[in-house]
Amino acid sequence: MAEADTDSTRDAGDAIHDRDLIAGAPVSPTELDVVVAEAVDAVIVVDTEAEIERAATKRLGIMGWLAIGWMALVALMTIAPGLFPIPSLDERSIEALRSGNFGPQSGHPLGIDGSGYDMAAKVVNGARASMIVSVGAVTFGLVVGGFLGLIAGYFRGRIDTVLTAGFNVMLAFPQLILALTLVTVFANQQGVSYGRRVGVVTFAIGIVSVPILGRITRANTLAWAQREFVLAAKVIGTKTSRIMFREVLPNVLPAMFSIVLLGVGVAIVVEGGLALLGVGVPPGIDSPSWGNLIASLRSQLFFGRPWGVFAPSMAVFLTVLSLNYLGDVVRARFDVRESVL
């Protein structure tokens, strides 16, 4: 041991070996090497497993297909509610009402509301209003926010400062209050038509989503507009508007699209919130939306009849979950593509 210590020029590994030899230690260098090698292998195995798992989550998987299936169902409800084997909206089931059973039963898979109307019919028919409002709102946000974000990110400088400040001001507003104010001011008078009310609700939620989509678009545009192919397009004399929409926008779209999916989910929830406050899609026997169903049937909870709220809530829950999941898948795919390039 003393020998090893005095020889300061030797490296640590030699010192250990020498000490082992002198002290007759049980662990021989070769054994040590094996242990180290195994530990290294274990680390590598863990890494590859994690990698495989990560790769798998980027594929759709069962959850992804379920989400797509549910969204297809929602789309069908929106476009063609007549295809579903459900009673019409104004059909009351007096027998079911008399029996006092408001839960799922034969002929009424999702139960009935306090007046004997079929919940399945309401949920299926309510999809249209909910989807029109949420998709319409996010489309509005996408077009306006995307355009402003593209301009801010591409031109930078003063335009960017002004637009970003505008986005921040809008984000500083409590979203629900802003939407509430807009609907109250523009569509809460007596005799406002259903169409106008839905339009204003859509617009109100759309305004709220403008800064979110605007900022995402701006950030991605900033990154992509620095790429050399934008300069290369400029060098061959491409017009600025063409560079923005043909060269930069297609690259930014995947990021925008993942936010759009999440945004539709948020918009559905906001629509429900507005309905709860009495300024959503106006409730009525023949004009259900998921939001106004929850709002108008919440009093049923006090009578121990949760089904009226449960059915539309479940529809909202599944839709938001599916959209979030698909949004994540899109984003993951987008990341993969960027790392490959």
Binding site: G157, R227, E228, F229, L231, A232, A233, K234, V235, I236, G237, T238, K239, T240, R242, R246, E247, P250, N251, R337, V340, L341
Partner: protein, 374 residues
């Protein structure tokens, strides 16, 4: 090509002003400074050059010498904010300095074009190769879709891409680096520019592909009778391929000459150092490579006097005080910025003096060179 003495650095004018009427490109005293929080970066500090059709010019320099900024500045591709661009760039008699993007669009693509360094980033990843080529054809030359497609096919064929029909429908990520650079060249050549800038066109490529891309550029330049500016950090790249070479250092041209003259009769110690730093095939293994000591100067606070003096083996007291102007050598078209040029009695004396005292006037140690390095 001919260069004029720098007004900013030179105290006396040595080379006579030459009249270049009808010259394709005439750059006079161009300066490009960037305003940064740390100070003004003098990336290009008074460069003059002229270029005729059918001629090629190699611009050589190490990283940060301003060679890329120079080519972008000539093309007017620099951002509008925080950039000072002075001097004159005349293209066929038209002044380009001061033109905005809208006016420059008349020149871009049709008259001036550029091949970028990295084909990985200079192609749009989400556009088919064919569309990227036909885009400028249709918009600049007003071609119909069929005509543009046929032209694009011919272009791809002429830049040596096999099965161009299939390539047209592919995305950039489906092509190899060399293929992509060929596509980039095809795009740059699509509208038949008269002047092509190639900004380190082979730096991002495999060594085996480099020579082929350079051959391609050279062939296209000859066939189309273009003028070409080849920007590179590799003297070997420009050696047999350009008519003239301009060596840049710290934003200035420090030596310029017809290619053969430059390699035969180096005057500027910087050029000599660059040449010596190229490893030679007949070196023994483990030969210590010759390096240029130090680092390129800070362009915000450049050293007083000759910018290369802190790293120069010839540096004398005068070099630290006075910025040398462009001197004209005996051979025509050969200019250099040095008080003690290589191969002259002054230079030999300066070098031996530095060797005797073991360091240059700037305090840089002088390594006694081996016979093969000298």
């Amino acid at each position: 090509m001919s260069t004029r003495p720098g007004k900013g650095g030179g105290r006396r004018r040595v080379a006579p002003l030459q009249e270049h009427t009808g010259c394709l490109l005439e750059v006079v005293e161009i300066k490009t400074h960037f305003k940064t929080p740390a100070g003004v970066v003098r990336a290009v500090d008074g460069v003059s050059l002229t270029l005729d059709r059918g001629r090629t010019l190699g611009i050589v320099g190490e990283s940060g010498s301003g060679k890329s900024v120079l080519s972008r500045s000539i093309m007017g591709l620099l951002p509008a904010h925080n950039v000072i661009r002075e001097g004159s760039v005349k293209f066929e008699g038209n002044e380009l300095v001061g033109l905005g993007s809208n006016d420059m669009r008349r020149f871009w693509g049709v008259e001036l074009s550029m091949v970028f360094q990295d084909p990985m980033t200079s192609l749009n990843p989400v556009m088919r190769v064919g569309n990227q080529i036909t885009e400028s054809l249709r918009y600049h030359l007003g071609m119909e879709k069929d005509e543009a497609n046929a032209t694009a096919l011919n272009l791809l064929r002429s830049v040596g891409i096999p099965e161009p029909q299939q390539r047209m429908r592919q995305y950039p990520h489906e092509l190899s680096g060399g293929m992509r650079q060929r596509v980039v060249i095809a795009i740059a050549l699509a509208c038949g520019p008269k002047l092509l800038f190639a900004d380190e066109p082979t730096t991002a490529l495999d060594v085996t592909v480099q020579a082929r891309i350079l051959d391609l550029l050279q062939r296209q330049q000859r066939e189309r009778h273009m003028a070409m500016v080849l920007v590179t950090h590799d003297l070997g790249v420009v050696a047999g391929r350009t008519h003239d070479i301009a060596v840049m250092y710290a934003g200035k041209i420090v030596e310029t000459a017809p290619t053969a003259t430059l390699f035969r009769n180096v005057k500027m110690p910087y050029t000599e150092a660059l040449l010596q730093s190229i490893p030679k095939l007949d070196y023994h293994s483990h030969t210590r490579l010759t390096v240029i000591p130090g680092r390129p100067p800070n362009l915000i606070h450049p050293p007083k006097g000759c910018k290369f003096s802190p790293r120069c083996a010839y540096a004398q007291e005068r070099c630290l005080e006075e910025d040398p102007p462009l001197f004209e050598a005996d051979t025509p078209g050969h200019h250099y910025r040095c008080f003690f040029p290589v191969g002259t009695p002054e230079g030999v004396e300066a070098f031996s003096r530095n060797q005797e005292r073991g360091e240059t006037a700037a305090g840089t140690p002088v390594v006694v060179r081996t016979a093969e390095a000298v």
